[in-house]
Point group: C2
Chain length 225, copies 2
């Protein structure tokens, strides 16, 4: 039996969450990857998550199917056009209502079942594109809610929600992952890929990613359309 | 177009959530019912939720399929025997890890999309069987987490999580619902029903329900095995 501490890692298949997984491994956690198929437009993410989890030898990888298209309300899950970068201010149309609250809730459920107290999530406040559920205040509040809503409260411990990318710029994230040996060609970031899975190079996510590789001085392995 | 305020109601198909729906209707909300098929043993709940929503004329009823059996950990979702009443203390084996956190997260996602600020949930601290995610502290904390993780924070409003049954005894809940005209024969509470859907009469849930009808002086419409 392993004497490593267990951690649940939210793994989207994107650059940030893959870096989180690399960090959790480096910190010697036994990693349990949790991914979601929520009807997102950028389906390549789902395939990317599978490849990343397999390559990085997680202990277990669970996929949860949840159809957030039932109520739509986001360009990622609804029939709304994904905008090109810089076309709006405030909360972007690619925000999926309560997505991270839902994802973290599942992570807590699995962690409680596994006996894990550590959860890793790749939220970021610097290049966070205006998503409310990436704020540090949200993460701190969620952690307290999770404690109160589980046996943690009765047993006098709490969940530690690790957000190691919270204050890093995209190029710092990429540098960190590269130093940890992460193969970013496995990851997918584009909100609006071509049918063959090539990145559009125009959406917010592509723009941040491309600029990040450039500033990190790391070759960009992304295949653009 | 309706000038009623919209509310999302978590509807399990049990006695408590049906009473919540009756209360939300009485308070003149336009009701959006949200139910989950999470691989629970007591499948009759799912059918009950459909009947209740149809009978009580909700504006829309959404079912979310989420397979919590992927990690088990509860007698309701795993291959663990449902105990008879009074056989244990502390958090019972029928507790499903983080269930209400997950359910409320979906409710917030739908509410945000609908433009609703009100959510009804049938949690209860009196006859709550020891579930940590039924505590008032948990509900209050969740409400704050939901505000921080959605556009509510940017727009300076908050979600109101109504828990009208929080401090009521089971017989008071039944009396209240009966006074509102709720037909409790539509509801299902048993954790361990017979293949034909009859209540076992022995689990915690059956015991509380049966005692509640008796103390309320309301005829018990439950069909016991």
């Amino acid at each position: 039996m392993s004497d490593k501490k267990k951690a649940v890692i939210l793994l989207s298949g994107g650059l940030d969450s893959a870096t989180c997984l690399a960090i959790a491994r480096k910190e010697n956690f036994e990693c349990y990857a949790l991914s979601f198929d929520y009807g997102q437009r950028h389906r390549n993410e789902v395939e990317a998550a599978k490849k990343i989890a397999a390559t990085m030898c997680v202990k277990e990888h669970i996929f949860i199917n949840i159809d957030l298209r039932k109520w739509g309300g986001s360009a990622l899950t609804d029939n709304i056009e994904v905008p090109e970068a810089g076309s709006a201010t405030g909360i972007p149309i690619t925000y999926v209502p309560a997505r991270n609250t839902i994802f973290l809730s599942f992570a807590v459920g699995w962690a409680e079942t596994l006996g894990a107290r550590d959860i890793f999530v790749g939220v970021n406040s610097v290049d966070y594109s205006g998503y409310p559920d990436c704020r540090p205040e949200f993460i701190a509040s969620f952690s307290e809610t999770a404690r109160l809503g589980t046996k943690a409260c009765d047993e006098n411990w709490k969940f530690i929600i690790h957000a190691p990318l919270q204050y890093l710029k995209k190029h710092e994230i990429i540098k960190l992952g590269s130093d940890l040996g992460l193969d970013y060609s496995l990851t997918h970031s584009c909100y609006n890929p071509s049918p063959e899975g090539k990145a559009c190079g125009k959406c917010d996510s592509c723009r941040l990613r491309s600029q990040g590789f450039s500033e990190a001085g790391v070759p960009d392995p992304t295949i653009y359309a």
